[in-house]
Amino acid sequence: MLPEEQKFLEQLYREAFDRIVHYIASLLKSKGFPSEQISGLAEEIAQDTFHTASKKVSVLMEHPNPQGWLMVTAKNKFRQYKRRIEESSRWFLPSNDFLENLPDPSHNPASVLDDMGYTDAMDRIRQNLSAEDFQLFRMVLLDHASHKAAAQELGITVWASQKRLGRIRNKLQKLLSQ
């Protein structure tokens, strides 16, 4: 990055980062994401937005509304993130049999997860992932933590967390579609 590009990016960052974080936080909150994860996730999506911006900074410098571009980019990242979480949660959707035969209200609530197949799915996942990979999977996809939080827990970089999670998702997609 040229010095003037670096300077532009930093100035844009300082002007807009707070706004982008609060924008994403508002969307996450409206979608019911766990409150304890919202600020970390929102910051990370904002960081990733600026990371994307850093690759296009020479064009952004001549853009009529760089903050508008940042907002649209952040919005798209939020939307993709939400889709990814929804896709992952489908791995645990109850079977059709379960939906057609809802349990008797007197049924033990703890065993409902068994009936849904959730417990089986989680057991299969646990058996097919290393302990560290399972921890990463649970933190990011189930608990909705940021890659940064997961990376700090596991002593890796955010990019290593991202790549590792990509491999985990591919593996699980094949496993759970069988």
Partner: protein, 286 residues
């Protein structure tokens, strides 16, 4: 600029927190890539002020910038994205495109700032919130009456009325005055799972044109998904014969929109404000 935006979007302050959050979510689902940052940032300001009356703790930007450079802007992240936006990622352009999109096509495209809000506010109004009442401060007090030759009696306009009747849409929603010099095309009917659309267009010798379209949706939800493109001019609320039309400009044409239940009427094209209001005045009048 911030003060201008506060005034421009002041009517949004009357929406509930939940409705403002719904507007943000609806905007987040908009895949058009249009820049709605002005209204989004205004809504955020309103929401932040409402949260216990105080703005939430601002982010420590110095700390965040340091983390950005240390943890994210690294060689390992080259060509990567933690949260890829795929095909939706907008490419920043040096200059905004000044393309002339057919207005009919424009109506099908999810739109800019106030247009999106309009569609969502129709839903809010239907659920009992007096959103449009809040916009009444913009109502024009100038009424225009006039007479002119028109295509009202033409065969094509009668076909248009016949199509409306076939689809049980009352002629009370249709203009009985049109500006002189324009010739009507054959009506155009388009059906989809969510609505039936009956449209007629008019052109004059100078190649000016305008159109009238009435959409009948299968449900209110489908109507709420409709949206319009609009540039940076205020919406004018215009009341006539029991209907409130909202008049706004769309790049280089004027548009007026009215909705009730599952009906949506749109009039748009190369029309002066006077002619637009005269057309509106002829709807439902004697």
């Amino acid at each position: 600029m911030a003060q201008d935006n506060r005034e421009k979007y002041a009517y949004l302050d009357q929406l509930s927190t939940r409705q403002l959050e719904e507007l943000l979510l609806a905007d987040a689902e908009d895949t058009s890539g249009r820049d709605t940052s002005e209204v989004v940032f205004h809504i955020l300001e309103v929401l932040q002020k409402r949260e216990d009356g105080l703005k939430p703790e601002p982010v420590d930007v110095d700390r965040a910038w340091e983390e950005f450079q240390r943890d994210y802007l690294t060689p390992e992240g080259e060509g990567q994205a933690l949260y890829p936006c795929g095909e939706d990622c907008p490419e920043p352009e040096k200059k905004p495109k000044a393309r002339r999109v057919p207005v009919w096509k424009t109506l099908r495209i999810a739109a800019a700032t106030v247009a999106l809000l309009f569609a969502l506010m129709v839903g809010a109004q239907a659920s009992g919130l007096n959103v449009f009442g809040a916009l009444a401060q913009w109502t024009s007090e100038t009424f225009h009456f006039g007479a002119g030759q028109s295509e009202i009696q033409s065969e094509n306009y009668q076909l248009f009325l016949d199509e409306l009747s076939k689809n049980k849409i009352s002629k009370e929603h249709v203009p009985t005055w049109l500006p002189s010099g324009f010739v009507a095309s054959e009506p155009f009917i388009e059906t989809s799972d969510s609505n039936i659309s009956i449209k007629i267009s008019f052109t004059n010798a100078d190649k000016d044109s305008f159109s009238i379209c009435i959409n009948h949706y299968t449900s209110q939800v489908d109507l709420e998904n409709n949206s319009f493109e609009k540039d940076n001019i205020s919406v004018e609320s215009y009341f006539s014969h029991g209907k409130t039309f909202y008049i706004f400009s769309n790049i280089d044409s004027t548009m007026a929109v009215w909705s009730e239940d599952a009906l949506l009427e749109m009039i748009w094209g190369d029309l002066s404000e006077n002619d637009m209001k005269t057309i509106i005045d002829s709807i439902g009048g004697s």
